[in-house]
Subunit: 442 residues, 2 copies
């Protein structure tokens, strides 16, 4: 079995017949069982995965392999539908909810032979960033037993970082793929709005949610993204991919982010990382979005999220409010009860930030920043408000954004570097991310 | 002086030295004075216009004419800033408000020699479609003394239709350019969202408002649009124009509009107009936006408008509420007091309609319909709720939309035909509109 347990390595090993898909699935199931204390999975689909692996091996034996994902085990965040398996979204209201159909992106991955090995744990309703789930148990960061993996896609990030699966799907409303990627030392990619269908996803906000990959390398994130992207005529928020513009070798550092307090180790890692572009032949410029206050805009985005999510869970909130945690219910109630004028004002703030980011990215290849201002904290410590200060902007703007590891703090907690590109610039962004990955890999 | 008093005719006459700009301005001022009872203007800028005309004549004499708009008199809706002149937006709160700078689009027109001859009357705060203004007086339809010109750009449409000015600017949130164009027998064009800057406009909703031309012909509307369009770095909603796709000679009729009751004369005129595309070599297809209910979506849009407008007038609403009419205050108060969840739900309805329209327009050159379900009604009669049922969709989708005259009802009231195209398809849309104009001109 491969040491690295990456998608690319699994794919190469399968192609070279060094191991079978069935062996790969067994290895993944064994790793999941060995690290059960991390509580990465809400359900493990062992029987189905074994049967799928046998199909994959049969195809390969007949020379009909479906490509690089054929036979590779993947975790799927439990707010994304996998036909015939529970999809709880981390909520008590959805306990026992078994969708009849795969989400569009899951069906796409399956059609390419990817094997769904389990449904990963998450923050309740994907409405938070600790993955301290009151209904399905706390999920832990593999880098420190008492630490949060971040969230809301905590299970996916922890499973990938712990080497339980080579890749997993997450969803990201204001940072829910990139924050746990940063905290766990994984790569997390939030694609351009509309590139991956939200069909079959229990999303938080139709306008801010994005499905994307968590993986062990930039290369793997690209492979997984290719497998899940595509226009879905049944998803109103799905878009046909547009042409990307050529690269200009210019990166921007947002002056607006200076207002957010950043942990010293994160600051040092970021300063070191800023030496990389120079060696790549990239220019780094300080840029600014007029009037954009990251903390205020994040709070405005949160009101949009709360109002949109209150719609998603409207019936259960009215009929079974006792099934929500106090925290989740308070957020959704706030979304219901705030005034329309307050929401309209919040939306304007968010759109102005988004427009500012997109305008900068007409000239720059990417905006570069730490992914999060801090590293994974110990459960029980106060949750830092600023977790999403650097990530939310890409959701507002619908821009692709990736988090790649850039070292660790003195406690060994991973630090993430974020790159945000113009809409539809995924290819270019992945290229830049690979350069950083090579340079900052510890 | 030209009989037609169109922009193109004025332009040709000036170029051929058949009359001077100064004579043209005098003619326009005389017409305005003769039809004072229509109450089309809140202020007439006679002195400034005369001085500007003398400049235009001097330039022309020196062979330095600035193009087709140089020396042509234009009306500007009074919610659009003209430096040094009052800009009331039809509101008592803004009586005596004199902006120091031209709106971006006005400055563009001025730079091409267009002469602003006056500020046109409108519905209070541009929040309604009768132009029965409680502060600056009722504006009348030139086709019937007791009839509404529609609104909110009633003064601009009436002034153009009555031949007081060859062109005028309006703003359109859910139909406020096209409804009065339809009622008055003028051409009204709402451009693609972002093509014309909202800089210096007292808008209703930053996300639904569009500045555009009212004119006597499709050709004139195109000339005026060319003069006012352009990227404005200081307006966050301004966009760089994108390439338009080629025409495919397919038009769509929305089945969704069948739910709206249409006056018999409008129905007959529209049925006759549907014979035109066939003669142009265009195919007409019946199409549908899944789940789109025009009346419900229009009400949802109205909530967005009310919430956004409540922000625009936040200070005055709090400090000087007595200066608003009961009607306007009630709308703005509703926007303030409705719940965020209600607004979020409305926004989703509007975005789904918008996505549906844009998807249809990936295949079709235009959606064709009557502009309004009825013709101009007598002041005092109940205001039909359905006035904006056919127009609001283009605002939701950010698509360009034009209203061209297609005959009149038995009372002599003009009927309008609406064409809605894909974003940035103005050129193609104007071409199609010209074909209809030629065929339906009475």
């Amino acid at each position: 079995m491969t040491d690295e347990f990456s998608i690319a390595a699994c794919s190469r090993g399968l192609a070279a017949r060094r191991f079978s898909a069935r062996e790969l699935i067994e290895a993944s199931l064994e790793r999941i069982a060995q690290r059960r204390e991390l509580n990465c999975f809400i359900s493990v689909l062992a029987d189905r995965a074994r049967a799928d692996a046998e199909d994959a091996d049969r195809r390969r034996a007949q020379g009909r392999s479906l490509g690089p994902l054929d036979g590779v085990p993947i975790g799927v965040k439990d707010n994304i539908d996998v036909a015939g398996s529970p999809a709880t979204a981390g909520m008590a209201t959805r306990r026992g909810h078994v969708p009849p159909q795969d989400a569009f992106c899951v069906a796409k991955l399956r059609a390419q032979g990817a094997i769904i090995i389990g449904k990963t744990n998450l923050h309740e309703a994907a409405l938070g960033a600790t993955s301290d789930n009151p209904h399905y148990g706390r999920c832990f960061n593999p880098h420190g037993a008492s630490r949060t993996p971040g969230g809301s896609s905590g299970g996916s990030a922890a499973a990938v970082a712990a080497g339980l699966v080579p890749g997993a799907l997450g969803t990201d409303t204001m940072g829910s793929i990139r924050i746990p990627a940063s905290y766990c030392g994984a790569v997390g990619l939030k694609p351009t709005y509309g590139l991956v269908s939200n069909g079959g996803v229990c999303y938080v906000s139709w306008r801010l949610d994005h499905v994307g990959p968590l993986a062990r390398s930039v290369e793997d994130a690209g492979l997984l993204l290719d497998g899940m992207a595509g226009f879905d005529p049944d998803c109103p928020d799905s878009r046909r991919a547009a042409a990307r513009r050529p690269l200009g070798r210019r990166l921007g550092v947002l002056r607006n982010f200076e207002a957010t307090a950043v942990a010293p180790a994160v600051r040092e890692a970021f300063d070191r990382a800023l030496g990389v572009p120079d060696r790549m032949g990239y220019r780094v410029e300080t840029v600014e979005i007029p009037g954009y206050d990251p903390a205020y805009a994040r709070r405005c985005g949160l009101l949009m999220v709360e109002a949109d999510a209150a719609l998603v869970h409207e019936k259960d909130l009215a009929g079974r409010p006792e099934l929500f945690s106090d925290e989740a219910r308070a957020m959704l109630d706030y979304g219901r009860r705030a005034s329309a004028a307050k929401l309209a004002k919040a939306e304007r703030v968010v759109v102005l930030a988004a427009t500012g980011a997109r305008r900068l990215l007409e000239e720059l290849d990417a905006l570069v920043s730490p992914t999060t201002p801090q590293t994974a904290f110990v459960f029980g410590e106060p949750v830092p408000d600023s977790q999403g200060d650097f990530t939310a902007l890409a959701n507002f703007a619908g821009c692709p954004a990736i988090s790649v590891p850039m070292g660790a703090d003195p406690a060994g907690m991973p630090i993430g570097l974020q790159l945000v590109g113009a809409p539809w610039s995924e290819r270019g962004l992945l290229e830049i991310a690979r350069s950083f990955e090579r340079a900052t890999r510890t």
